[in-house]
Symmetry: C2
Subunit: 557 residues, 2 copies
């Protein structure tokens, strides 16, 4: 794998960081914690941190086993020898990942405080997603109240791109995971179009949002994609989802095409109301129950009759999956529920009904696959290597400058040249929001509290609109694209995530434009300027301040 | 995917072919048929054929839907426009693949004859594996007997590398498929080592031999690989296989490692005697029965009590998979049987038995995946692009020279330079063998007849010995390697299959060396040479001819 060694953090981002470094030379002790699930580029965050800190003769401690390692103060000293094996490599196996969610209970927070004090930490860098960002916001407050001087920082990471918002264009690992999944979807679709006898149902990992599925669909043009957000928004019932799939199968069969490829995000089950209710009922049962593994019969007895009927109408192995023991965050373990098979089961029933009625006369051989654990451990793309590395360096700058409760971010990611990237820190409080979003695991002891919201597919966004436009054509024809394996060299090696390019947002760039405009007005309206100009400028700017303050009021209601 | 366009068949192989071309300029009509399953590089075989034939103003017809298309005379004219979309692309979707096995009944053979005559075919190129090669050998004989002048040629292709032998170093697609599977296995193993709580059971596609699994294991160093050939050779029972896996789980748990990665070739089930017997019993039932889909109960009633007991001890969904309707060749549909889950089911039972006895105290959370349809449609590696293209050209040369019943081959594949490759044609009869190998689907109307043997993992080969040597170390430690995504540019882009490099065979090279040596002896011993030299040379060569004729006799017994 010698070809990977040149993919170390781009010099450009290194250079960008050294310009800041002159102001912050004090030697510090910093800890780094992997909080989220495996994500490609995670190791490069540590590399970026280490390389930046090396300039000030500082110490970088890696916590082994994530949150738990922090709690137990299990550390390993990060050295250049240790890093040499893990730079540009996938997985989080250098330190291991967390097995529990970011704590929101006082005893755990106290454990963190103890670690900060005992290890004399100047900074703590948390690598993770929304739950981590929310937790760190509260931890920062707690440490401040306890007069612990440790600076807390977040690096946004995760394959599902949930910690994306106006300040964050992409999370570390999203690009790589989507690339790997796109390759596999492309391969499978082409395989299906060659054999011409299978319907491929592919379930894609990515929590309860469909960010990954959308990006993958745009790259591979499958016959159908069932977006959780879509089902959610149009409040489709299970029967309607099944009918939609059966309609496509029927329509293609009428043209002699008894094959196709359907993408199913793993979070779809949570968006289908009947199943969501069923899972919620099971969830509350298993939270109440001490017994971690409940039998299907025991569960069914405690459900509403409607949910029990639905559960028992499912194939036996799905019943077992539905009632299985829960994740660390106690919510359902999505990856263990074979939604694709469940859907096929119901579609098969619907098709045989249609066959009896003479409405369908094809053959339906479904092949189900789960594309999950094959991407999170992938070698990171050049983009994710550089993103992780640069964010690691940015986090170090935040620690050096004593900015606690900040998230490291980079804007201008769409640009092919890393020299154009702009690094920044954003206070976590700027991202907190209070909504009635279904992410109830973010609730604090049963009560809602502000949290960093999860990015879902934007049904008004350009990417979704493109999908809607193409849907029919992709459905009936074989327009499959194969984006091919992830490349480290050649013309596609420096590709950017399609959504980043599509959305074309650059927060810092726009801020700069505004400030330059304000400066220009100030310059033009110095003492001695014409009264007409002064008058016009004053009136215009007062109108603008009115608008701004009114919008501020609306936002704060 | 513009970066792929430069991967067209290497100029070198084109040049190698044009040297022959001068002798064969007549315009011909050639048909090409995809016989096997999807394989990366298949489209390049057609491209190689087309480009070579273009020199003689010939016509290339592609049969749509493989064997069936040939039978029904459904053709499409291959043009450079058509090819431009498919060159260097995966899948077989340009023409679609065959859905039935190569026929061995007279009516079908007559159908082929009709197509050859009606379409005035000078040549027919079959792209496929062992079954195809065997069939074409018999077809050649039949056409010759019927005085049909069509030349039949075989291009060895298939991801499972079964049509590999002393003349064939690698089949088109084997390299690519193994690369893709290695990437996925590497990613999954790294993911497992990061989470440290799952046992990953990965089933690999590849018919009833473990060629793919071995190549992938050598590239990814998993904790365990269960080779079908190994189980076969040591006549392990189901219980022994289960115990072997449980032993590793127990040993790793004792070191605090409740995770690992196990590779399972899909053909393993056929090597475990109890399951093989069960499947054989079910097989004969469904061949006898008109009803294609038998219920589990109906099947169980007709089985021996032992097999019925085994079937009913399996999880319900596996019972259904076992009794499912059969493939085109009527043998069991391996890819539909979730061996990995079946094994986990039994391992789980064994582990809970050990827990009761106090012999095991870990946690066992298996995650099962099938790595199957994600590789066959992959963009071909540079190696497979060039191999397919060059073999296509070679097949055209064979047709031009009227050599019927030949297989196109290339030797010297291990060399990084395609200029060093040597193209050749080998008579299919040189590969036919009569053995009692369990590939009973090759039997002709229930009777054994010569066939081209399937390449299995060589338990005396260098690759297997290396595996045996590493087994313990890989088992107990985390030595996972991630070969990364297939590269089209950079230092790894022109990699060769590990087994080709390892085995280091080059039939044509050795032939040349022998002939050169014979020539040298002839030259040295011309009239006028010393009688001592003549005497020594004669004695030596007579000894050799004795050895050769004796070995010939032994072989023909």
């Amino acid at each position: 794998m010698s070809h990977l060694l040149k993919r170390q953090g781009s010099l450009s981002s290194k250079q960008a960081l050294t310009t800041h470094q002159a102001t912050a030379e004090k030697s510090v002790t910093v800890g780094v914690v992997f909080c989220g699930r495996q994500t490609p580029g995670g190791h490069n965050v540590v590399a970026g941190l280490y390389d930046y800190l090396a300039g000030s003769n500082s110490t970088l401690l890696g916590f082994v086993g994530g949150i738990d390692g922090l709690y137990k103060q299990q550390t390993v000293l990060v050295t250049s020898e240790l890093l040499s094996t893990y730079r540009n490599q996938g997985g989080l196996d250098m330190l291991g990942r967390s097995h529990e969610k970011f704590p929101d209970t006082l005893p755990k927070m106290e454990g963190f405080k103890d670690a900060c004090v005992a290890l004399k930490l100047d900074g703590l860098v948390f690598v993770g997603g929304c739950r981590t960002a929310t937790g760190v916001a509260y931890l920062t407050e707690y440490l401040k109240a306890e007069s612990v001087p440790t600076v807390c920082t977040v690096v946004p990471a995760g394959i599902d791109g949930t910690l994306t918002n106006q300040f964050v264009e992409s999370t570390v690992g999203f690009h790589t995971a989507c690339q790997v999944y796109s390759e596999l979807v492309g391969n499978t679709a082409i395989d299906g179009a060659s054999a011409k006898k299978y319907w491929m149902f592919l379930r894609l990992m990515g929590s309860d949002v469909s960010n990954i599925a959308l990006e993958v669909a745009l790259r591979s043009a499958p016959n159908m994609i069932l977006l959780a957000e879509d089902v959610d928004a149009s409040r489709m019932s299970l029967q309607e989802v099944v009918r939609q799939v059966a309609d496509l199968v029927t329509a293609r069969a009428a043209r002699g095409r008894n094959y196709g490829t359907v993408l199913i995000p793993e979070g779809l089950v949570l968006s289908i109301p009947e199943i969501a209710v069923l899972l919620h009922e099971i969830d509350s049962l298993s939270t109440e129950s001490e017994d971690k593994d409940l039998t299907v019969e025991a569960v069914a007895k405690h459900l509403t009759s409607w949910s029990a009927a639905l559960l028992l109408s499912m194939p036996l192995y799905i019943q077992v999956q539905m009632t299985k023991k829960r994740h660390s965050n106690k919510s359902v373990q999505l990856s263990a529920i074979e939604t694709e098979r469940l859907l096929c089961h119901f579609v098969e029933a619907e098709l045989s009904r249609r066959k009896t009625l003479g409405q369908y006369n094809g053959s339906f051989s479904p092949v189900c696959s789960f594309l999950g654990y094959q991407a999170r451990g992938s070698l990171p793309s050049n983009f994710d290597c550089n993103l992780g590395y640069s964010l690691g360096g940015t986090a170090a700058v935040l620690v050096h400058n004593g900015l606690s409760g900040y998230l490291a971010t980079i804007t201008g990611l769409k640009g092919k040249e890393e020299e154009e990237w702009k690094v920044a820190g954003v206070p976590l409080t700027a991202m907190l929001a209070l909504d009635d979003h279904k992410h109830h695991h973010l609730a604090y002891n049963g009560q809602l509290r502000p949290h960093v919201p999860v990015k879902k597919v934007d049904l008004h966004g350009a990417a979704y609109k493109y999908l809607v436009e193409k849907r029919r054509e992709w459905g009936m024809h074989d327009m499959y694209e194969n984006s091919g394996p992830l490349q480290f060299d050649g013309t596609t090696a420096d590709d950017r995530p399609a959504t980043v390019v599509e959305e074309d947002r650059d927060y810092l760039e726009e801020l700069e434009v505004l400030h330059a405009a304000l400066h220009q007005v100030r310059r033009a309206c110095r003492p001695g300027c014409s009264s007409a100009l002064l008058h016009l400028a004053t009136k215009s700017i007062l109108t603008l301040t009115d608008v701004v303050s009114m919008m501020d009021e609306v936002a704060s209601v």
